[in-house]
């Protein structure tokens, strides 16, 4: 087991394309860290740099105390699980799992014991003599995981391992991997573009965009305290409503006025004085769909918005209401009884304690 430390890591591809820039992070021993971001944000490149499959252009990468910038992949003591399983089609499940151990010339008896032990954990005992072709997607991914585990490496790298599975299996495997992490207590670095996967699995999330880290924090804090507009939009489903507003001061206090209504700002948001210089200026207002509520459940500080329903989507326990207030498009997550037909007018309450305000220029969160 080992920690992984990135110091000013940089990756530039031939042709000058910068994939990762100024990447600083410390992953502690036994931590489950998820690198998350949209396609092309540099998350897979970062993972591949840990594996040694991509050369590092600049900075220092440590595995434990050891600088591994130029260490060959096989000498790094890491295991990697790929999106499309990367199983050898001509080898049986047993041989695929034993692949790394055989290459390291481990005695046959120990290989058999280790593979059988891991097969037991992953429920693969019955499949050991089958070839990958005869396995389902979920079983194949378990074999790939088995191959990674069997060698007992210092760290596990997982590159979108669930992307090829259907939704149901993905949820199931998500739980399996999380359980496996608890069981092994090893360092896991997991790459995904799926924020739900990231939120549910990681101890800490690293949100990336265009090669830069946007924020590193626990899922809860990323959700509650996003550092900027990008993180706020990326984390949470449905994504946060963001729209232009002007902060206006009146005798009743400060409000955010937007096309479609106005929302009072609670004293808590104004307490640190960060918003003082923005009074009278345009900002970006963020409201999570979950911060809307029905009139009969009014929170302490709330604002009301009158809106027209465009669409309502029932997703089991709740309903997503797509509404339009003035020219502002909003999505609200509400109890199912709030379901309404397109064209209907609704009056929605917003919990103003949960408003987010972003700088229009820098997109950083002000409050």
């Amino acid at each position: 087991m080992a920690s992984i430390t990135f110091k000013n890591i940089r990756k530039v591809y031939p042709g000058g394309v910068v994939a990762v820039e100024d990447f600083n992070l410390e992953i502690t021993d036994g931590e489950f860290v998820v690198l998350v971001g949209p396609s092309g944000c540099g998350k897979s490149t970062t993972l591949r740099m840990i594996a040694g499959l991509e050369a590092i252009t600049g900075g220092e990468l440590y595995l434990g105390e050891r600088l591994i910038n130029t260490v060959a992949p096989k000498d790094r003591d890491i295991s990697m699980v790929f999106q499309n399983y990367a199983l050898y089609p001509h080898l049986t499940v047993f041989d695929n799992m034993a692949f790394g151990l055989k290459l390291r010339k481990i005695p046959k008896k120990i290989i058999r014991e280790k593979v059988e032990e891991v097969a037991e954990i992953l429920d693969l005992r019955e499949l050991l003599q089958r070839k990958p072709k005869a396995l389902s997607g979920g079983q194949r991914q378990r074999v790939a995981l088995g191959r990674a585990i069997v060698r007992d490496p210092a760290a596990f790298l997982l590159d979108e391992p669930l992307s090829n599975l259907d939704a149901k299996l993905r949820t199931q495997m998500r739980a399996e991997i999380t359980k496996l992490h608890y069981k092994l207590g090893a360092t896991f670095v997991y790459v995904t573009h799926d924020q739900t996967e990231a939120m549910t699995m990681g101890d800490r999330l690293v949100v990336m965009r265009d090669g830069f880290i946007q924020q590193v924090d626990t899922p809860q804090r990323l959700y509650e305290e996003p550092a900027n507009l990008f993180v706020a939009g990326f984390i949470g489903s449905p994504q946060m409503n963001t729209f232009d507003a002007v902060l206006t001061k009146s005798e009743h206090g400060v409000s955010a006025v937007f096309d479609g209504g106005q929302l009072p700002l609670p004293p808590r948001l104004l307490a640190d004085g960060a918003l003082d210089s923005y009074i009278g200026k345009s900002v970006i207002l963020g409201v999570r769909p979950e911060s809307f509520c029905l009139e009969d459940q009014l929170p302490e500080v709330c604002g009301m918005i009158d809106a027209g329903v465009e669409l309502s989507e029932l997703v089991g326990a709740e309903v997503y209401l797509y509404v339009k207030a003035g020219d502002t498009q909003l999505i609200a997550t509400l109890p199912t009884r709030a379901r309404a037909n397109p064209g209907a007018r609704v009056r929605l309450a917003v919990d103003c304690e949960k408003l987010y305000i972003f700088d229009k220029e820098t997109e950083a969160r002000i409050s």
Partner: protein, 297 residues
Amino acid sequence: MKLKERFDRLNDRARDRVSGFLWLAPSFLGVAVFYIVPFGVIIYYSLIDNPISRNFVFLDNFKALFQNEAFKLAASNTLKFSAVAVPLAVVLALLLALLLEARIPLKSQFRTFFLSPMMVPVASIVLIWQVLFHYNGVINEFIALFGADKIDWLQSEYNQLVVITLFLWKNLGYNMILFMAALSNVPRELLEVADVEGASPLYKLFAVKLRYLSPTLLFVTILSLINSFKVFREVYLLTGDHPYEGLYMLQHFMNNIFKALDYQRLASAAVTLAIAMVIIIGALFIAENRFGRDVEG
């Protein structure tokens, strides 16, 4: 009109079948006239005494063929040539493809260089090689600079060496391109897993890459085998009807007995060659099916 009525009365499936046959008919006619029927006639000719009396003699023509010294020489030369030239053409092309797959400078220039012999017509190639390997040619002049004796390249033990070099020069480029295309289709993740798990480059080549290359290996081997029989064209242009003993190939033999209008011997030689080819190619197919079974489809 009657035919059309009958066609209209057919159900959909039968109608599809009839129209399918009709669409295939022109090509089938061509293949039949130029391949299937002549092949049948050749088999028939190999089993009769002569085209006039047409007495059935069963395998007598084949017995006579196997006792013929010229045939034995031609068969043995062809076998020797193919046994050396074909593996070389496959292995060297694969090595070149692996080399060009790596990050080396002037990669595209090398690729063009190896492909360029394909663009040169055979007659021009032969002319160049005559200039190179003539007794008073460039190569002899060159080795004379180092005090070595001149070699009569095409009329001595070295003749097969010359033809093998010519064969490789002509065929390596195309084989190499086929291998390069196949190499680019080897799943990258499988090689990366091998890297992470600690496999050596040789292990990766034999245990991973060759598995995925097996259909191409088969194709390149068959292609090279066929081309090795076709080397007659170059040899004939270089040395004429009766070359030095070591270059007397099966096609020389067939060409000469065709000129002598000995149809029975020609037919039995052709059938023997066809049987040999079917056995070799069949064996290659079986081997490829076993080796590459899991990586295909």
